[in-house]
């Protein structure tokens, strides 16, 4: 089977059209980024995020009400995966001081319900923990077990056999979990995932991500400048930048548009962007390699024809490799599970843009640069 045999399309001649298309895509993305902004995940914002899997179907509005009743008005509550998954996120790092006494109250009530008349002394209390002393070591074990199963973060103060003290911590995600367990007793859930990121870590990660992407572009610029010519490196990196910007714009456009697809920028998405950079450069390099070879063989042919010829010659490879990769990524998006969905989707879309750019944009940019500088490209 063969496709694109003896293909002879004047891609370069239509470059103005593709510039317009790319320009429009970039413009659309930027407009959205300015007005809708980009959604960042907990990795970059800092805060707490928990993902729960209920046993039975849940109504998301009910969960939202319960979370708000618990005193967390700002928490974001949405579905995760199927009908039974719920994602809850808040930017708070700690339980607000006005809620804490309520929590202490509930802890004491729980103990009273299970162990009526049990003597307990509050021996220490900080902004988010309480420590009790109980009459004997055996009940201490049992109280910890009961509190734990009721959703409190309870533990014995020391592992010594004679220990009679328990400490209960109320951090924000445990508080959400605990109060949901108590307010929805007939629909138990398990915790799939829990992330807590401090604000400083978040901003550091953001910085690192931007540095990583720019650094990879620079490394590629240097390597290609060394293996080809600077003008090729320039064309390749500019078109990579173009891919990243357009894909980023798509994030802004599609956020909250497709149900079940959670397009927030987190660490995994940054990894997807870096992979996108690595993959698209692959495509572009193959075409440039052909241009390099054709320049050596056809010394008299003008650059315009050489670029067109090279893109045409490599077209079947570009489409075949790109096509299989896209189909695999589609499989990964659909069946790869909740955690990888956004990652696979980013790459899926990014590779469409990347393949488009290697065919229509990268070579054209090289040509543009060469004609502006009126330089002959030689190897």
């Amino acid at each position: 089977m063969r496709i694109f045999e003896n293909l002879n399309v004047d891609f370069l001649g239509k470059r103005k059209l593709f510039y317009t298309i790319s320009g429009a895509l970039i413009f659309l993305g930027l407009i959205n980024m300015i007005f809708r902004g980009l959604e960042f995940g907990v990795d970059f914002l800092g805060g707490s995020e928990i993902v729960l899997q209920f046993e039975k179907e849940v109504d998301i509005t009910v969960v939202r009400d319960h979370v708000q009743n618990a005193g967390l008005q700002d928490a974001e509550v949405k579905t995760f995966g199927g009908e039974t998954g719920v994602l809850i996120r808040t930017e708070l790092q700690e339980v607000p001081p006005n809620i804490f006494p309520e929590i202490v109250n509930e802890i004491e009530q729980t103990i009273n319900n299970h162990f009526p008349g049990l003597e307990k002394t509050l021996i220490d209390s900080t902004s988010n923990t309480v420590t009790y002393q109980l009459p004997n070591p055996d009940t201490t074990d049992k109280v910890v077990d009961v509190l734990y199963s009721e959703g409190f973060q309870a533990a014995e103060v020391s592992v010594e056999p004679g220990n009679r003290e328990i400490v209960v911590t109320a951090n924000i995600s445990n508080w959400i979990e605990g109060s949901l367990r108590r307010s929805m007793p007939d629909n138990p859930f398990e915790i799939l995932k829990e992330d807590k990121v401090g604000p400083k870590v978040g901003s550091e990660l953001k910085e690192d991500a931007v540095i990583a992407i720019f650094f990879s572009l620079i490394v590629i610029l240097v390597y290609l400048g060394f293996r080809f010519k600077f003008i090729f490196a320039f064309g390749a990196v500019l078109s990579l930048f173009h891919n990243v910007i357009i894909t980023l714009g798509l994030f802004s456009i599609l956020y909250n548009v497709i149900p079940g697809l959670n397009l927030e920028i987190d660490l995994t998405i940054v990894a997807a962007f870096l992979t996108l950079v690595g993959y698209s450069i692959n495509d572009t390099v193959v075409i440039f390699d052909r241009i390099r070879e054709n320049i050596k063989f056809h010394k008299t042919l003008p650059l315009f024809d050489i670029i067109n010829k090279s893109v045409n010659q490599t077209m079947s490879r570009t489409v075949l490799t790109g096509g299989t990769t896209l189909i695999t990524l589609l499989v990964l998006t659909l069946f790869g599970g909740e955690v990888l969905r956004a990652f696979a989707f980013t790459l899926f879309f990014g590779i469409i843009i990347g393949t488009y750019a290697s065919i229509f944009i990268a070579g054209a940019l090289v040509y543009e640069y060469a004609t502006r500088k009126k330089r002959r490209v030689e190897f």
């Binding site: 870590v201 991500a209 660490l267 790869g336």
Partner: protein, 629 residues
């Protein structure tokens, strides 16, 4: 045939090596299936015989059974060590990033801190939380703004601010080392399987705990203050006496069933077979005593630790141990036997003679006289008085230095120590001395840490992720193979074969490096599958072109490979570079992805350039028809 021999040998060696490296992963998978089935059964049995058992007690018992199962079979352990490890996102667990709280440390270090100091410190801490500058620098500049010299709170009057700042910063770095050691010590005791503890930068510690179920317990392991105690080691006669009584109580249970052999066994102790000895002396068979030694320290194999602990927890055993003493283990193994670590079991007083708060400093050194490593320790005046009394009353006895319940050293008291300056000798090397220094300081100075990042993945999400990932990987593989064969026909099947080897090599190299497979890592393998056909596509397209020009098959194959080479190398090298950057940037799961991507690139180049080449060359040699679609 000769021209192929060398390449065939290389390829076969690579395949054999990959299979060899992957075998432990396979056998570990089988082993864990076996173990979990057995544990399920035992769990039911325990629940039936004791329905009121608490969950924590049940888990503890199951853990003992699991440990003894794994330890009883060295091949289980080996397989576990050499398998491809699963990341936290696949097996569930907790990842915590801790940062030393310099503010709290400064507060502790300051002499007579007043209100001004406290307010400025709080301000400095708040500012530091949002910037890269250290609390020490911010506090120093705040103090100097107010015209207060640092020596008002730290160091001595003659020292300049810069000197003090430097020392405070060293203090902060030391605190990280201390916190790391305290955490390592506790995690070791807690028995978390395959924990990782690493330093990040000079203020942070990353701890990964696979399979931790109770978040709160784990956090306490990481954050609680360390307890350093000096406790008296009981004398040998007393200790042996207690041990013998325990042994009798434990054996008494067995004697009911074994009463006939009782009398004969007594006088033929030396000839007793190992099994008989184990029945006669259940305690001494796990806690071995050296009869030649004048000390009554028992030696316990690592695999027996849980068993011994369980023995000591039995009520009938507790009855014969006097109330004021308890058994404690050494923190580190003192040696190795048959590949297993050996720990020491000490019998010590329950009440400490002194706690670590009195220590003001500790330094590890080399004794200039004997050139042996020593640790010198100083105490405050209050501690020194006590210490003089304690050492005076216990000359020629041993005092155990215990941090969080395990013994780091049990030096002999040679004479009464007056003035609070003591010297500890007998360490094997300077490293051991350094560790003791850290331990002693841990009692004196806190190493307050804050959790700044925490990620927990439940076990069920991990399982789902693996299943979905494997489905997607298999589907991706077959789709790719389908297109390859459809488009390139016979050469397509050659490429598909090479693809199988690419996946095999990738996994093999990962196992060889002890790399961790994460969920994005699985995605990386899927991407590798599709991207690795690129090299083959490049080569085949070239061969087609060459054939179209009218070259012979042999010439086309040769020049197809040669001319595709530069494109293959350049494109893969650039992708490899982004892999490196990704590895540098990422944490945990993302690093796993970068690693599989890089290994996959290397493996795919090998498959395309060596394996595909060999098969095509061979087909040309045999005069077989090569169809490139």
């Amino acid at each position: 045939m000769k021209e192929f021999r060398f390449r065939i040998i290389i390829i076969l060696a690579a395949i054999a090596l990959s299979i060899y490296l992957l075998y432990p992963t396979y056998s570990d998978y089988q082993n864990s299936k076996e173990i979990s089935q057995f544990l399920e059964k035992r769990k039911d049995e325990i629940l039936k015989s004791n329905p009121n058992i608490t969950t924590s007690e049940l888990n503890r018992q199951l853990k003992v059974i699991e440990d003894s199962l794994i330890n009883s079979n060295p091949s289980f352990q080996e397989a576990r060590q050499d398998r491809i490890k699963l990341g936290l996102d696949l097996q569930g667990g907790m990842r915590v990033v801790l940062e030393v709280n310099t503010g709290k440390l400064l507060e502790k270090l300051a002499k007579d801190p007043d209100e001004t100091f406290r307010t400025l410190l709080t301000e400095a801490q708040n500012e530091a939380a949002l910037s890269d500058e250290s609390v020490v620098d911010i506090l120093a500049s705040k103090l100097s703004e107010r015209g207060i010299r640092l020596s008002r709170y730290f160091g001595s009057v003659r020292e300049s601010d810069d000197v003090i700042i430097d020392r405070l910063k060293t203090n902060a770095t030391d605190a990280v080392t201390r916190a790391e050691e305290i955490i390592r010590n506790r995690i070791d005791q807690y028995g978390v399987a395959e924990p990782t503890i690493q330093r990040q930068g000079n203020r942070r510690i990353i701890v990964e705990l696979p399979g931790i179920a109770r978040e709160e317990e784990a956090k306490r392991l990481l954050q609680g203050t360390a307890l350093l105690e000096f406790r008296l080691v009981r004398d040998p006669e007393f200790t042996i006496n207690v041990m013998q009584r325990i042994d009798e109580v434990l054996a008494g249970k067995n004697k009911d069933t074994l009463s006939t052999t009782d009398t004969t066994a007594q006088d033929t102790t030396t000839q007793m077979s190992e099994e008989e000895f184990r029945k006669e002396h259940p305690f001494f068979s796990v806690a071995m005593i050296n009869p030649e030694s004048r000390l009554a320290d028992a030696y316990v194999k690592e695999s027996d630790r849980n068993k011994l602990q369980e023995m000591l927890n039995r009520p009938e055993v507790k009855n014969v141990i006097p109330n004021n003493v308890e058994f404690v283990f050494s923190a580190k193994p003192i040696g190795y036997q048959e590949g297993e670590s050996i720990y020491v079991l000490y019998l010590v007083n329950k009440t400490p003679e002194l706690t670590g708060g009195v220590i003001t400093d500790a330094t590890a050194n080399i004794d200039p006289m004997s050139s042996a490593p020593i640790v010198s320790m100083t105490m405050n005046s209050e501690g020194a008085t006590e210490w003089a009394r304690i050492t005076g009353a216990n000359v020629n006895k041993r005092i155990a230095i215990i941090l969080d319940g395990v013994v780091f050293s049990a030096p002999n008291v040679n004479q009464k120590i007056v003035g609070g300056r003591s010297q500890i000798e007998g360490m094997e090397n300077l490293e051991e001395a350094k560790l003791l220094e850290i331990v002693l300081k841990a009692g004196a100075l806190p190493a307050p840490v804050d959790i700044i990042e925490e990620r927990t993945v439940g076990p069920s999400l991990g399982e789902d992720s693996i299943n979905n990932g494997v489905i997607a990987a298999v589907a991706g593989f077959f789709i790719t193979v389908f297109f390859l064969i459809l488009y390139y026909q016979r050469s397509g099947s050659v490429a598909s074969l090479a693809l199988i080897f690419t996946v095999l090599f990738t996994l093999g190299v990962m196992a060889g490096f002890g790399a961790t497979l994460t969920l994005p890592g699985i995605a990386g393998i899927i991407l590798t599958i599709t991207m690795s056909i690129d090299s083959n596509v490049l080569i085949y397209e070239r061969i087609r072109e060459e054939l179209a020009v009218g070259k012979t098959i042999k010439a086309s194959v040769d020049s197809g490979f040669t001319r595709a080479l530069s494109a293959i190398i350049d494109s893969n090298v650039t992708t490899f570079f982004t892999g490196i950057i990704l590895y540098q940037f990422g944490t945990g799961p993302v690093q796993g992805f970068a690693l599989t991507l890089m290994i996959g690139i290397a493996a795919s180049m090998f498959s395309a350039l060596v394996i595909t080449r060999l098969i095509l060359d061979y087909m040309v040699f045999k005069g077989l028809k090569i169809t490139v679609g």
